[in-house]
Amino acid sequence: MVKKVIDIENVFFYNRKSKVEKLENKVISNFGLKRFLEKTSTKAGFLIIIIFITVALFAPVLAPHDPLLVDVTNKLKNPSLSYPFGTDQLGRCVLSRLIWGARNSLLYSFTVLFATLMIGVPIGLVSGYLGGKVDSVIMRIIDIFMAMPSFIVALAIAGTLGASGKNLVFSMSLVYWAEYARLSRALTMQIKEQSYVMALKAGGCNDFQILFKHVLRNIASSIIALATMEIGSIILSIAGFSFIGLGVQAPTPEWGILLSDSKEYIQTFPSLMIYPGVAIVIVVMAFNLVGGGIQDGLSAKKR
């Protein structure tokens, strides 16, 4: 059960094929929530994610101040009762910006994930189910996308379209869908050979129903496993893009922006940089713990 949960290569130029391949032969209808929650580390990860999502959802209520409220007379203050994490270079509440940052960072990440799933999974399903020429053509396209270093391509697209959160989500989705397509295709091909699919066909179900009602349901768990593993690197990429100014634009509170804003103050006010850094580390770690847990659950079931 020794496996790499996150390795450095995986962050920017990760070998996406290997990750997909690992999951490809794991068609399991039900991986069992109970089984994967047994491990303490997964439980902890799950809890952290729940906390962060709650914080993100209730940001308007939880944040003590308006994250955009500038008060330069009150800049770079140490933590106090009304500003628990102090204030930044424009006198904005750091805690509020972190909380809203969670909302924005997670929102952008989930949007990218959702978009890649929405593009990748249907393409994979159709390709795997139909087979033949359609499959060959789609597979070659997928191969092209998988061969390109995704971060660089997303960087190029975001750079050409201009820097904004919208363009970033667009360019990342455009690049990251391929692995889901590949995974769902492989799984679909295995499932379509099974007798119940034959039975469904014989029973008069049309292809659309078979694919999206029955096949999709059976491959969902593997796809969720991949998605959970991926969300961590998506969060990192988005923060990275924002840091270099190609993603979400200031003054939107987003963790990458918070990091890049604070780099001028690394000596005078290092805490500005530490807070968003720690937040990113914790969230990414939590998602990877859960992703690892799910994958463990899958392989256990398989055995």
Binding site: V5, I6, D7, I8, V11, F12, K39, T40, S41, L68, L69, V70, V72, T73, K75, L76, Q89, L90, A163, L236, A239, G240, F243, I244, G245, Q249, A250, P251, L259, S260, D261, K263, E264, Y265, I266, Q267, T268, F269, G277, I280, V281, V284, M285, N288, L289
Partner: protein, 541 residues
């Protein structure tokens, strides 16, 4: 095993964070990869030691390969100052001082400038500098280069071996100042070009010569043994291009750099002041920062909108709270250290939100749907504000501050950060902005050079920041003044007119501070910011 795994994960996460940070560091060193292939070494250098080398940080890309005297695309003024000499130099308070010319005469009618050259000057390749060298250089000046003179240069003649005369079509007071510019009227040796006439590497008469360089990173200069003036007591200056303010600070603190000629982030200034290993020399700067408005944007054609934005600009708070008082709130486009600028002709706008709101209302902008943003004909007043952070690290903070300030009068500002090259493209070619933060030129360019460069429309060049027919005529008129007698009066009119019409939004005049390592002594500011430092007086302790 679980424990082990968790530790591993923590380590990995930590590594990722550091990668995220260093990854961006690499991003800032754009062209680092191309630099290795573009690396060229002119001559085999002697092993340099820390005792005879001074490392200097700049924020403008040092690229000796294209630093031709007549090239106007690079901003590496320090390099120009060190390698090439002008005929006359711009001294303290705008005094015209001798350089390659010992003296000069101007004819009665002000059209003919005769320069008497020094007889002891040699280029750094050992060849003699004389009237023929001047003719060689002036022959390279095409119409575009000559366009940098306020009058049309008709002919250049060699009077004798050490006397040259320049004849212009009419007299203009700025001509002699224009001879002092860091570019494009400086003198290079024929060996700067290859046999096909293509520029290879600058060879001049200056105090320094280029020994080697790495494109986009640094240039190593050694002292020019043929230099006619005072020789420095050390061997080399390394000009290093560092485009991140915080990195410049850290390079100074670690001792990797000796002098920083570029801007440092305002919060770090305190750190450097407290550092006993770092000293500083302060300079009165002729620089000013302002917002340029895009005159193609119809919103700005209404003077009330421009005035409202000026009234809504809280310059006092900007200077006191953000800049920690290390600057002066701007009243006009130029600071009072610039010739012809007076209190009376640059009054500026006070901070007055009520007045700003009123003016916007008069211009037809009102918040009818209660979203806090004013609108006209159902369209929100949204403007983008373009900035860069490589040369002036405080601009981002300033722009974010202004964004929050303008929101108080219901103007929605969208910030757009650009990398330096794209930013300059936006100014000079694409005009892809509503508001853009920019700086004035400095020293000898101010005020006439800057005004005619960005507010003046010639036949083939549209105005850069603002076009106004009357302003255009006035600027054209003042730079055509044969002598200084009426110039003050004309500038009074121009500055007043620009102020009343709010063609720009002046922000502040920064103070110039050069930080240097305390191992150096005798560091003193030069007369112009292009020179920066008086090199020959520095000694390494």
């Amino acid at each position: 095993m679980n424990y082990k795994k968790t530790v591993k994960k923590f380590l990995a996460a930590g590594l990722i964070m550091s990668m995220l940070l260093t990854g961006c560091g690499a991003g800032e060193n754009k062209g680092a990869s191309s630099a290795s292939e573009g690396q060229k070494t002119q001559s085999t250098s002697k092993e340099s030691t820390k005792e005879d080398t001074i490392t200097v940080l700049t924020a403008s890309n040092i690229d000796p390969e294209i630093a031709d005297t007549i090239d106007t695309s690079t901003n590496a003024f320090q390099l120009y100052e060190m390698v090439y000499d002008p005929l006359v130099r711009y001294g303290e308070n705008g005094e015209i001082e001798p350089a390659l010319a010992e003296s000069y005469d101007v004819s009665e009618d002000g059209k003919v400038y005769t320069f008497h050259l020094r007889k002891d000057v040699q280029f750094s390749d050992g060849t003699n500098f004389n009237a023929d060298s001047v003719i060689y250089n002036t022959n390279r000046w095409d119409d575009k280069v000559k366009g940098n003179f306020s009058a049309k240069l008709e002919k250049v003649e060699k009077v004798d071996d050490y006397t040259v005369s320049f004849t212009f079509d009419h007299a203009a007071y700025p001509i002699i100042i224009e001879f002092t510019y860091p570019r494009p009227f400086r003198m290079c040796a024929p060996s700067s070009l290859d046999k096909d006439g293509k520029f290879v590497l600058g060879v001049g008469t200056g105090q320094w010569k280029i020994e080697s360089y790495e494109e986009g990173q640094e240039a190593v200069l050694v002292k020019n043994e043929y230099y006619y003036g005072k020789q420095p007591s050390y061997e080399k200056v390394v000009l290093k291009f560092v485009d991140d303010g915080q990195s410049r600070v850290m390079a100074l603190q670690s001792g990797d750099a000796d002098i920083c000629l570029a801007d440092v982030p305002v919060e770090s200034a305190g750190v450097l002041e407290d550092d006993t290993d770092v000293s500083s020399v302060k300079d009165v700067s002729t620089l000013s920062f302002f917002f340029g408005l895009n005159y193609d944007n119809k919103i700005f054609s209404d003077i009330k909108v421009r005035q409202a934005l000026n009234y809504a600009t809280n310059k006092k708070s900007m200077v006191e709270d953000i800049m920690n008082n290390d600057a002066t709130a701007a009243t006009g486009i130029f600071s009072s250290s610039v010739p012809f600028v007076t209190k009376e002709n640059s009054k500026g706008y006070d901070y007055n939100l009520e007045k700003a709101k009123e003016l916007l209302k008069e211009a037809g902008y009102e918040d009818t749907n209660g979203d806090g943003i004013v609108e006209k004909d159902g369209k929100d007043l949204t403007l983008n504000l373009v900035f860069q952070t490589e040369e002036y690290s405080n601009w981002k903070t300033i722009c974010e501050f202004i964004q929050s300030e303008y929101l108080k009068i219901g103007v929605n500002i969208e910030l757009k950060e650009m990398e330096t090259a794209a930013y300059y493209d936006a100014i000079w070619t694409t005009r892809d902005y509503d508001i853009i933060i920019y700086r004035s030129y400095e020293d000898s360019w101010n005020p006439h050079g800057f005004l005619s460069s960005v507010f003046y429309q010639s036949k083939d060049q549209p105005s850069v920041f603002w076009y106004d027919e009357k302003l255009n005529t006035m600027i054209g008129d003042v730079i055509a003044q044969p002598d200084i007698t009426n110039v003050q009066e004309k500038y009074d009119e121009i500055f007043k007119y620009m102020d009343e019409n709010a063609f720009t939004i002046p922000l502040y005049y920064p103070n110039q501070t050069y930080y240097y390592n305390a191992r150096l002594s005798g560091v003193d500011k030069a007369a112009t910011s292009y020179q920066g430092i008086v090199w020959e007086d520095i000694s390494i302790n």
